[in-house]
């Protein structure tokens, strides 16, 4: 696998994110795979931010810490990241801004501000000059840069588009004239077909939710989940969906549950703090058997924690949140593609089993960009579960919303669509939905609800298992660490070690049988996760009786890289 890594760094407000996105999109038009992540602080101006783009000949789902190009929009970026630049790598900077002295072999001084002023009459377009410089060094087709800039700035009008193209051209020409060209080995623009799309986890979730027929999202902004509601709200004028920015997360979950009761697909998206406020509403959905989908985008806690960073500290919380006992499913996609299909499945499970479904993501998945094959919307299957047909309902007094069945699933009628009266209660209730106190009815309804777990268990797919014959070790993870773990395993394989992997992208009800089978021939088991208490390792122990041999845990708020995993595995293998 050949790859090429670019980092753009600067302070908040310098446009690091937008430059990074333009670079990623431009590279994505080439015949390569992109993985890009961003690192930023909880502030609007100042601090240190960076955006990393990895272009690769093979599909990759992880960051690399070895840079081919570092674009430094300020001097701090050079100080912090120069050690990550490869021996033959290059730092692009504006000497006037950074005042850095870098040898010609290590650095390319591009007068970003001067070129922006000269070419476009606007010093703020220095960023676009840097984009041009990168692609000049790479000898990249300028037409592609033009087309990306045109698309990016369409809303700002033709003049802004033209000025940005002029700025990019100035950087492009300057780099070609003064720079030592960097070729992209094996990464070439071979076709213009747009079979791939580039998007982050939250965008995949938003698209998946719309495709699945989500008609209402209720939310209160919280990093890293906010962009889901923002995306869907942005489509309110064109598509049949309502986005309600509510007063708090308690309102969000109760609104989504109310909408689910009335028969539409509804969701909320939040992070740990907001989810904590939603927990009573989660139990309400469990008790009233109302479908609802919750996206829980984890970030480091406890409390406010590190708002703009990543962690997998809420696995046990997602499994157990809510007072009392009720069935739920928890899906834990590892990348943007899985996130799209996970949210579709979440809506189907929520309606089929009339219970809450949690899609557990984290900041890294939510905000990292990846190229994926264009989603095939014909593959989006909608399953809405058992409903009572209006003709069969007959006399309104006879409908029983919580009828006891073998599967535990009571066919749904929707209020107002038929003459059936749909009655439900957060108090324990009888089949008709009215409050009760007697023990027999309580037991009957409690067991009925919990029986739905039997069906749910069959719906949850096995973990993704890649078995190496006679494995020396098995690396085990869940959620957003999938790409890094898989790449680390591949590198070990190349070194002659037999390494298997098990990755959980659907985690509850826990697929225990499949895991037990792999453990029989696993070699040393190593659980790798972004938390300090080894929550997956604990879950495996609880559900299978198997104790893993080692854990590699990371809880500094930064994502795993393959390199990090390898360096920590060396002591184990």
């Amino acid at each position: 696998m050949t790859d090429f890594n670019i980092m753009v760094g600067g302070e908040a407000g310098q446009g690091v994110q937008s430059v990074g996105a333009i670079i990623a999109k431009t590279l994505a038009r080439g015949d390569c795979h992109i993985f890009a992540d961003q690192d930023y602080e909880s502030r609007v101006r100042g601090g240190h931010n960076f955006f990393r783009i990895r272009a690769s000949t093979r599909e990759t789902g992880a960051v690399s810490e070895e840079l081919d190009l570092l674009v430094a929009l300020n001097s701090e970026t050079i100080d912090i990241h120069k050690k990550e630049v490869k021996s033959d790598g290059l730092i692009i900077h504006d000497g006037e801004t950074t005042q850095a002295r870098i040898s010609k072999t290590k650095g390319l001084d591009v007068p970003l501000i001067k070129l922006a002023r000269d070419a476009a009459g606007n010093r703020l377009m220095a960023n676009t000059v840097s984009v041009g410089a990168i692609f000049g060094l790479l000898d990249y087709n300028f037409e592609i840069i033009e087309s990306i800039l045109t698309k990016e700035f369409t809303r700002q009008g033709q003049k802004i588009i033209d000025d940005n193209i002029k700025a990019a051209r100035a950087g492009y020409d300057h780099a070609r004239k003064n720079g030592r060209s960097k070729t992209l080995p094996e990464i070439r623009l071979t076709s213009r077909k747009r079979a791939k799309i580039l998007l982050n986890g939250n965008e995949a979730i938003s698209l998946g939710a719309l495709a699945a027929g989500c008609k209402l999202i209720a939310g209160y902004p919280m990093t890293p989940a906010s962009s889901i509601m923002e995306y869907i709200a942005g489509k309110e004028k064109e598509y049949d969906v309502a986005a309600v920015h509510v007063e708090d997360e308690i309102a969000a979950i109760n609104m989504a549950v109310g909408a689910g009761y009335a028969g539409i697909r509804s969701m909320v998206a939040t992070s740990g703090g907001g989810f904590s406020l939603m927990v009573e509403g989660l139990a309400l959905a469990g008790m009233t058997e109302t479908p609802v989908v919750i996206v829980l985008g984890q970030r480091p806690g406890p409390a406010t924690g590190l708002p703009t960073r990543t962690e997998q500290g809420e696995l046990w919380y997602a499994l157990h949140a809510g007072h009392g006992e009720f069935p739920r499913a928890v899906l834990s996609p590892s990348n943007a593609k899985e996130a799209f299909y996970a949210i579709v499945k979440a809506f189907n499970l929520a309606e089929k089993y009339q219970t809450p479904v949690i899609v557990l993501t984290d900041h890294h998945l939510a905000t990292s960009y990846a190229t994926v094959d264009r989603f095939d919307l014909r593959r989006v299957k909608i399953e809405r579960g058992d409903t009572v047909s209006p003709t069969k309902i007959g006399e309104a007094r006879s409908y029983r919303r919580h009828a006891v069945t073998d599967s535990g699933i009571s066919p749904r009628a929707l209020p107002g669509l038929t003459k059936a009266l749909v009655v439900t209660d957060s108090d324990e209730h009888d089949e008709a939905g009215h409050m009760i106190e007697d023990a027999a009815t309580r037991i009957e309804q409690d067991l009925k609800r919990l029986r739905k777990l039997n069906g749910l268990r069959k719906e949850i797919g096995p973990p993704v298992i890649k078995e190496a014959p006679k494995a020396d070790a098995t690396l085990i993870g869940w959620g957003s660490t999938g790409g890094a773990i898989e790449e680390a395993a591949a590198i070990f394989q190349k070194d002659g070690k037999a390494v298997s992997t098990i990755h959980f992208n659907e985690i509850w009800p826990f697929p225990a049988d499949e895991v037990k089978a792999v453990f029989e021939k696993s070699g040393k088991t190593v659980v790798i996760e972004s938390n300090a208490t080894a929550q997956l390792a604990g879950l495996i122990r609880r559900e299978t009786g198997k104790k893993v041999d080692h854990t590699i845990l990371k809880y500094d708020g930064r994502p795993f890289s393959p390199k990090y995993i390898i360096s920590h595995l060396k002591g184990v293998l």
Binding site: R194, K196, I197, L198, L199, L207, L210, A211, A212, G213, K215, L216, K235, E236, K237, Y239, D240, V241, A242, V244, V246, E247, I250, A251, A252, N254, M255, A256, V257, G258, A259, Y261, A262, G263, I264, R265, S266, E280, G281, L284, T288, R374, F375, L377, R378, I382, A396, L414, P415, G416, L417, T418, K419, L421, V423, T424, D425, S426, D427, G433
Partner: protein, 284 residues
Amino acid sequence: MVVPKDYESDVEIAWCPGCGNFGILQAVKKALVEMKLEPHRLLFVSGIGQGPKLPHYTRGNVFNGLHGRTIPAATGARLANHELTVIGIDGDGGAYGEGLNHLLAAMRRNINMTYLVHNNQVYGLTKGQASPTSDAGFITKTTPLGAILPVNPLALALASDVSFLARGFSGDVEHLASLIKAGVKHRGFALIDILQPCVSFNRQNTFKWYRDRVYRVEDEGYDPTDKAAATAKAQEWGDRIPTGIIYRQERPVYEEQIPALKKKPLVRQPINPSQFEALLDEFA
């Protein structure tokens, strides 16, 4: 044809004998029958308390949810199907304590629903603690030193530019039923604060106490579209307590501002994944 029997439930009523809730239940049923509203077109959403048990004692679709969360659940249901007539029911604890943030937001939003607040100035279900509307100094097991200053729901509602505001008295069923009808017919959020004695836990604000004080504003040539007059009325409490429609205005309804609701209710709209094909181009 809607007849009183349509609103008769066979669920056993768990209220104390003589409870003010009986008058409210009677007024609700009377209003619904008189409006010729069929039960299946109606959705009651309620929270927790003695009053919020009311939907079980009549008929309709019922979502009896969490304490204080009636309004967001009702809002969600209304957005899913705005053909439903939605009536929310809470006590003074759920409406003015636990759920106050939602009430303020609902009034700003102007979601089209009617919100009945059974206000007996005490907690009945949990047996006699102070409520947000208990009189200052009211002594209970949780407030042995006396309750803090009460919430003034009318003044709060006016400050939030509520579109319909009324106060009723459970001892005047006829009048209360007329207020409920006006609230349901009003386009937008209607808050009806209902004074109701608690015969078990409030020995201070009794039937007689209320009856000696309440009067109907309409008997005095009151104009409910005059906000300044309403603001003054909202401060009246003590020897004389105003009931009737305190304020009403026309304001854009929240549902009407959502493009997706213009064609037909969301619940009647089909799911069609392929319609989003164009969105994928944004990422190509």
